[in-house]
Amino acid sequence: MSDQIQSGPPRTLPIMSNTFTPEVNAEIRRAAATGLYDMRGGGAKRKLPHFDDLLFLGASMSRYPLEGYRERCDTSVTLGTRFAKNPIELKIPITIAGMSFGALSAQAKEALGRGATLAGTSTTTGDGGMTAEERGHSDKLVYQYLPSRYGMNPDDLRKADAIEVVVGQGAKPGGGGMLLGQKISARVADMRDLPTGIDQRSACRHPDWTGPDDLEIKILELREITGWRVPIYVKVGGARPFFDTALAVKAGADVIVLDGMQGGTAATQDVFIENVGQPTLACIRQAVAALEDLGMHRKVQLVVSGGIRTGADVAKALALGADAVSIGTAAMIAIGDNDPKWEAEYQKLGSTAGAYDDWHEGQDPAGITTQDPELAARLDPVKGGRRLNNYLKVMTLEAQTLARACGKSHVLNLEPEDLCAVTMEAAAMAQIPLAGTNWWPGKPGTGY
């Protein structure tokens, strides 16, 4: 309403609330109409301090840069060096996170395996067991050991290159999962020993152990079954990263996988995704501090996930002390998730490309988060694998570029001293000096 069209006595303009926004009001109306909380996939969408709030300083008088494209900057990383006879050797420090067959189509799982293999890295199963397609197309496959134990069997366990005991995930620390009946095809149901078409609950905690002392024994059992050959990872959500990391190390983990709240899930309550956990940026230094306290930094490897999108994010996570990162949502986008070419169909589903997150409904136009055979057939796993490989290559080149600019001959040589923060929040969370200062909030000895 403009001044020009006002007539009569002066009146206040209509003011939209910053508390009761149109999105909030729409959710209230939806909840009132249905009595159901909102389910969705993906990770936190709220604005959070993130890697964008950190910058590399680059070389200068006191730092000697390496020549871009000419001088060597290695990217290889070895995971699981603590106890496993056969640690995992990766060409790049970027792995593919656990995503289940069931949540994703078989074609999508195959594409992830193909892309990871081309790039020389690992991919990961998910809640629902190991499929022949992903084992066949994944040179290095991490087998998730989850509370539900859907599809869990010793034959597949012995085929794995590593085992990841999932305690929690960043999208829902402390929460279980739900695969709604729309996605429970006959094959998915058979793998999970449940009837077709029913909602499948994934438990929030393991059925046969409680706490870190038990976990130590569980890890012993897994090692005994697999002959101490493969690394045992422990995945935790970004809840209490210092203590969770310390306890996982105490329990005998070879690798800690730390997933911040931007990390995605196949499906859970929106209220959970947006209100539980810590931002990835806030988790890394806490976990590294725990490893350093125990003298285990670089001996027990730290893999960070949750909102990794670019080579800059990779480089920053490594500079903060991670040994590798893991991507889920970004990998899905690389193979075709939320592609604008399906915009008309997203519109029909009441969404738009880039915002589509009703993955649990199984109607994904891109054929990725679905078990519908016609939709799933839209995804060519060979092309999808190539796209993922291209994307991983680009991220690796970007990370190398930044590392060389900081004078590092290996991306793992990046360090906190290479960074500054552009916001107070990021400075505090990452324990990185605010740009132009040598200080961050909470820095020991500063009194703040």
Binding site: P154, R201, I225, W228
Partner: protein, 225 residues
Amino acid sequence: MQSFNLQTQDLRDLNAALQAQAEETNQTVWEVENPRGSHAVAVGLNAPIEVNVRGPVGYYCGGMNQQATVHIHDSAGPGVAENMMSGTVVVEGDASQYAGATGHGGLLVIKGNASSRCGISMKGIEIVVHGNVGHMSAFMGQKGTLVVCGDAGDALGDSLYEARLFVRGSVKSLGADCVEKEMRPEHLALLTDLLAAAKSDAKPDEFRRYGSARELYNFHPDNAY
């Protein structure tokens, strides 16, 4: 007969030796002395061998068993026969929590009592407990059968899927969505076979059957707890 003494020999050597047995092995009977509460004894086996464990074991004895018969001639700690796929595990004494957790197949016999969460998340295993079971037994049980010759504790079969439960004695309380069901001839036949396999002298017609009301199979706001 092969013999292992866990007082003087390593757990790793025991499991490696047992896991190395092929389908056609002629070393079919193994004795394990002095387990002294060791964890992960006789785990990940995959051959038709018989392993007699002469003493109490800790966590996860017989875990993920395939084909083998693991006979524990004493009590068992938590998670005995967890995720068993096939074969048989027998516990002469009592079993701690999570007995037979997530088991996909095979037969678990507990001659004494089983603690809480017996058969939690079971996926096809058959469990016969000669004594009582503790609270939350068969929680989220998906497939398979739990037979309790004694009493069952609180919240039996909470959030049950398709697992079949039979209890001869009292049930302190039923869990969410678990209800008593009609005992039909096929259930009596199943019970007859399982009780015989478990060497129980209980009579099938002394049992009552419980199963899922299937009210929680699809999420509904009125079912939220």
